[in-house]
């Protein structure tokens, strides 16, 4: 809905008004408020170093949120993020144990692992017609079980490949960490996918009225399947980068990503019921959540308090936007 440029008719202001989404604007306004609050606690808060550091942290969340956004646009949900992310990280690291070839294929191996879990989710939702909440929750547990079997319950000894480290912590353009660059590339790709491709149109269509899409002669099941595969692949990719950042995979590395990923999509104005939302909003949501986390830790808020504040913020945003009358 967002990326519809008007090349052929005048009225730039009109076009801007139409594309202006109050939810996205609110998310950006909240970011500014958070920065101001943060600057009271610490003078470092508005420095370039700190902000770039925050964007780097946000990149991992941003990539995972990109995947879950596709699924939420359909009106479904992906609750398998934590262990699909971990599985991606572990499998990528495991690949480095297979000599130079394995090392070279570490990143694709991690992504492929996530895509396979996503395929499992997609088949369950699209073909077996099981509610996404059940399927993805089960996938999460199955992935957890598989990883515990693989690692014997301890953090695996294999470490990240150089390529993974470079992607997460290297610097290609001076001043801009590669993680931010990778997120930017993912962002461009997802925006293009949503705005310019038949797949993107169909995602929004299914989220709004699946029956109409089906009666338009479009294979809705394949689209749903593909969205879950992409979501799994992106979760795992986030895990691969995280493993590169930390140099190795860890058992519970994904646990901290489920709620923030879904929350940032919803805070960015994407309807939890599907069919409405822009990627720009998700970017705002991701930055908002990341800054919120950062401020809460600067304020030395204990973990329990952080969790409560997430929950309350999400509820507040849902009250503000999720229940409004449909735009028609």
């Amino acid at each position: 809905m967002s990326d519809f440029q008007q090349q052929d008719r005048p009225g730039f202001v009109e076009a801007f008004k139409r594309r202006f989404d109050p939810a996205v604007a609110t998310a950006f306004a909240c970011i500014i408020v958070l920065l101001l609050i943060g600057s009271f606690y610490s003078s470092n808060f508005l420095t370039a170093t700190y902000l770039i550091q925050q964007m780097k942290v946000a990149a991992f969340l941003g990539i995972a949120a990109s995947g879950v956004m596709l699924v939420i646009l359909l009106g479904h949900i992906d609750l398998s993020i934590p262990w699909v992310l971990t599985a991606g990280a572990m499998m990528a690291c495991a690949a480095t144990g297979f000599g130079p070839v394995g090392t070279a294929l570490a990143v694709p191996a991690g992504i492929l692992t996530g895509a396979l879990f996503g395929l499992f989710n997609g088949i369950g939702v699209a073909y077996l017609r099981i509610p996404a909440m059940i399927v993805t929750l089960s996938t999460n547990v199955v992935a957890q079980g598989l990883m515990v079997v693989y690692s014997g319950g301890f953090s695996p000894q294999d470490s990240a490949s150089d390529a993974m480290r470079w992607l997460a912590t290297g610097v290609l353009i001076p001043g801009v960490p590669n993680a931010i660059l990778v997120w930017a590339l993912v962002a461009v790709a997802i925006s293009f996918l949503l705005g310019r491709t038949a797949f993107g149109r169909t995602l929004y269509g299914i989220g709004n009225n699946e029956r109409a899409v089906y009666l338009s002669g479009i294979g809705t099941r394949r689209v749903v399947l593909l969205a879950f595969v992409l979501a799994g692949a992106l979760s795992a990719f986030a895990g691969v980068l995280l493993a590169g950042y930390a140099s190795k995979a860890a058992q519970s590395m994904g646990n901290a990503y489920l709620l923030p990923a879904i929350a940032s999509v919803v805070l960015g104005g994407t309807s939890i019921l599907g069919g409405k939302g822009s990627y720009l909003g998700t970017v705002a949501g991701v930055i908002l959540i990341t800054l919120l986390q950062s401020i809460l830790s600067v304020m030395q808020m204990p973990e329990a308090g952080r969790q409560m504040i997430y929950g309350v913020v999400i509820l507040a945003m849902l009250l503000a936007y999720g229940r409004g009358p449909r735009s028609v």
Binding site: Q6, D8, T202, G205, N209, A212, Y214, L215, S216, I218
Partner: protein
Amino acid sequence: MPLLTMEGISKRYGGVTALSGADLEVEAGSIHAILGENGAGKSTLIKVLSGVVPADEGRILLDGKEMHFASPAAANAAGVVCVFQELSLIPELSVADNIVISNPPMRFGMIDRAEQRRIAEAALARAGASDIHPRALVKDLPLSRRQMVEIAKALARNPRILILDEATSALTAADVGRIYDVLKRLRSEGLALLYISHRMNEIAELADRCTVFRNGHNVSSYDQGTRSDAEVIEMMIGREYSAAFPERAPVPADARPVLETRNLGWNGRLSDISFTLREGEVIGLGGLDGQGQRELLLALFGVLRGLEGDILVAGKPVNLTSPAAARSEAVGMALIPEDRKTEGLMLPMSVRQNLSFAALDRVTRAGVVDRRQEQQLIDEMVRLLAIKTGGLDLPVGALSGGNQQKVVIAKWLMRAPRIILLNDPTRGIDVGTKQEIYQLMRKLAAEGAAILFYSTDYDELIGCCDRVLVLYDGRIRSELAGEELTEHALVASAMNLDDSVAETTA
């Protein structure tokens, strides 16, 4: 004094007038039948009487006292109970639970199971269905038994006026016989029964008095047996042709068959449907609402599972398992669905996105939408159908009903289909747009498209179609063309009456 008097009842839904100044008088101890075509206002009258919708104007008097029913519960309390044609039972609960659901007997704040069972048994016996066990789950009962439970549920509320809206349509012949006995007994107990049915023979058998509705008000009331079937049909139609229809050229005798069905059947709802649709031909589907017309269109479009019989496209058998298969290049079919809001459009999405949705595969290269080509096709369609929008990027839900319908049609015309299935495309839209749709249909047919057109409006069928297939109970009851294609013949066929009735009145 009559038990029930309704005076000057009017009801509008948005711009559509469903009832205007309707009157009705019902005596206690009688069965009163209400007749009328689709959309004559019968259902709305019942809804007003049973408290489902409020009337805009008019009064309801019960025993001479004016009543205001704010809800079905209020109407029930006053003794007006309705058996709706849509079943209102909860499948997962038992028969007894369902019968007492609105007012279960209580003991110490909990439901008194023994008392509940006693009430249910009494109600079932009164409905002539004592063979149904009160503890059986509703979901385990066949449709005809459920309908009996529905009637028992109504009787458990001790009605003074019992309304039966197409209550026999799901019943087997044996049950219908039993129901007749039950209804006659209830009449002798002093109840007033309002009976709505499309089956003339049932009305002849049961009713004491009849009221005919047309265009939202009562046109005549008479004692059963004082009017012939032909006169009744005359009263039900009795209106002038209001629409002007475009000229049509006869279909050449050598036109190639495009779509054929042989003995098509589905799930007891369609049986033995065979017809041939030729290039440039418009075939109408007639009959009363809900006789299988929608199912037939959905079956052809690959939506229904488990079809019997064969479908042939251009002489070759095809197996259409999804709308995607039906719209493919080899078949070239399009379905304009029944309800544009739930089946045709994605209301919050833009006019542009809706227009190109069914033809996305035609305007994409490697999955990427070619916006220039998309715009070309859209411009063409907007011109062809004269769609009026405030802008292509506004949500389609902001358009008027007629323009929304044009978008639904345009989105399919963009694929240049060879077979076009139309499911009541003019319902709820303004007269001007209707005319445009008639013109468009003839234009498409002249260009070689084969069109199957279901409409609930008999004028449209007569004015637009080369032939009309009248469906009754999932079968083709008759085929009307040329001189035979008259409103009398359509109504008589739709009511499953003998053809001679139509001839004597023609």
